[in-house]
Symmetry: C2
Subunit: 326 residues, 2 copies
């Protein structure tokens, strides 16, 4: 079996080359510069990598899915640049966001043009039997990711969000794009309907597991210098917060949750109290059980595929959600 | 020959029905409401109408191009809602813009999801021989319209814009989408390469003529209650302003242009002085000659197509650019 890191690095380099080729050819300069800046600001390119792995997992050539993968990476970066404007986020991966370094109009417009470049990359040639499906998946994914972001913004001002609402939102905002990445890769590899169905189950649950773990780590891990509880300060109504509101019984707990909802977030002083409450009410444990549930659903689906190097690499990606520390 | 108004109204009603169908099915409500608002705020739907007329002009069924037409109308409205944010415009057709009535995040997101809906509408069925071309034209058009808006914003802060730069910008920002509307319609009607080539020439020149006339009317017509010279107050460097800067000789004229460029626009007091200068230096006349040039190029191309009801209706659309008063 080929070493995962070797495969990852080879795929990564091809993806980076293609991304820079597109960004470098963007006109005018006022859009080219922020596009290049976005790409230089990094990212693990996991969406493109999984697209390529999925093509290999169904018996195809991973490089037949390179353009689809890059397309989805550009789509993902479009969501980041627009979401950062909507969320008034000053930083992304420790660097100024595009709308701060330039201005809001530039952020809007570079995002818009990126949608065009992303869609242009979706292959149209006859080699891919279900090429119409690629277009369909791509556009559906753009629409669904917008729906997810709209729900996320709606939830900021709503007090009646239940756990299912939250799972619906992260399904649309996060898992959707991971699902699309893997399905487009599978179609590029001319997957059978059964392979598509298993990879759909794998990818959507992978996406949910990833986001649940992301939320969990935000409240529990200080590795790589991150501040614990940033999500609490920003007022994100994650699964854990929703459960805390459900389960709060004592006057103190109720008051703490009441303040969180009223002020759309916690003060730095309140962060430790909320963390203590989540621990005491077994909500961290519950979140880990939820994660494990999605992890297992993803794992079971993947195990049903005929094994090859690429299915093993996909398993590695799934395991990274479990083993990551930040 | 079928009456133009009758054809227009029939097409218009089909377009409106489809637009409302899509807007009404948008989720969540926080995106549906602004989408419906945008559509209710009107517009002559000229892009969709020309798409349908183009299909008929090449001998096809105009209704085979309905979805393409609606697609381009949604794309056009996406540009309006995002441009209004970028330009900080408070009003559109006399009503509050989306980002004012709701907020900037809503304006960004409704625009984003509209791109998805627009692209989904582009037909993929075998009936259209060159259906791959439809996708290609649509995406190219999205990219080019973003390039045009970027140039427009760049020009706001540049002092060295020449007439060719301006024509390049309106080519990308305005004529491009009219060209795409007509070409997509022609492909939906399975046009011959010669018909495509003539309609391309027709449509691009129609688009340029339309924009030049739009700029001219802004400075010369007060019909329908519009304030004369709004473009001057907003600092738009139209063809006429660029020519005024080129031709200014007297100290007064030079000073007036210097102030315009320095302050990115004219005060209400300066508007009349600039209008007087444009008249005196024959710049209005020059703009009309430029308009006539594009009008004739469009007319000549159209005349080379085999005549039918729909080519005559397209001629009517071209003539409206000449006869409009506001």
């Amino acid at each position: 079996m080929q070493d995962f890191d070797k495969v990852y690095n080879e795929f990564y380099n091809s993806i980076q080359n293609k991304l820079f080729e597109i960004a470098n050819n963007t006109n005018p300069k006022s859009l080219r510069d922020p596009f290049i800046y976005l790409i230089e600001n990094g990212g693990k390119r996991l969406r493109s990598i999984t697209t390529m792995l999925a093509a290999g997992a169904v018996g195809g050539n991973p490089y037949d899915a390179l353009e689809c993968g890059v397309s989805l990476e550009i789509l993902h970066n479009f969501t980041l640049v627009h979401d950062d404007i909507m969320d008034s986020a000053p930083l992304r991966r420790g660097k100024e966001t595009v709308h701060i370094k330039w201005n809001i109009p530039t952020g809007i417009l570079v995002g818009d043009i990126m949608i065009g470049y992303a869609c242009q990359l979706v292959p149209k040639d006859d080699k891919i039997v279900n090429r119409l499906k690629l277009q369909e998946l791509f556009m559906e994914s753009l629409i669904v990711v917008c729906e997810g972001q709209a729900l996320d913004m709606d939830y900021n001002v709503r007090r009646d969000i239940i756990a299912d609402n939250y799972l619906d939102m992260i399904g649309k905002k996060t898992a959707n794009l991971i699902r699309t990445s893997i399905l487009m890769g599978a179609y590029c590899g001319n997957a059978t309907p059964e392979q598509i169905s298993l990879l759909e189950e794998f990818s959507f649950n992978l996406g949910l597991a990833f986001q649940i773990q992301d939320d969990y780590l935000d409240l529990t891990s200080s590795e790589s210098g991150k501040v614990i509880g940033q999500d609490l300060i920003e007022g994100k109504k994650t699964y854990m917060i929703i459960r805390a509101k459900d389960l709060a019984q004592t006057p103190n707990d109720k008051e703490l949750m009441e303040m969180f909802y009223k002020n759309n977030g916690a003060t730095e002083d309140q962060v430790n109290d909320i963390l203590e409450m989540l621990e005491r009410l077994n909500i961290f444990k519950e979140a880990q059980e939820l994660f494990n549930n999605y992890y297992e659903l993803a794992e079971n689906a993947l195990n049903k595929l005929q094994q090859n190097d690429y299915t093993l690499h996909l398993k590695k990606i799934l395991d990274q959600t479990k083993n990551r520390k930040h």
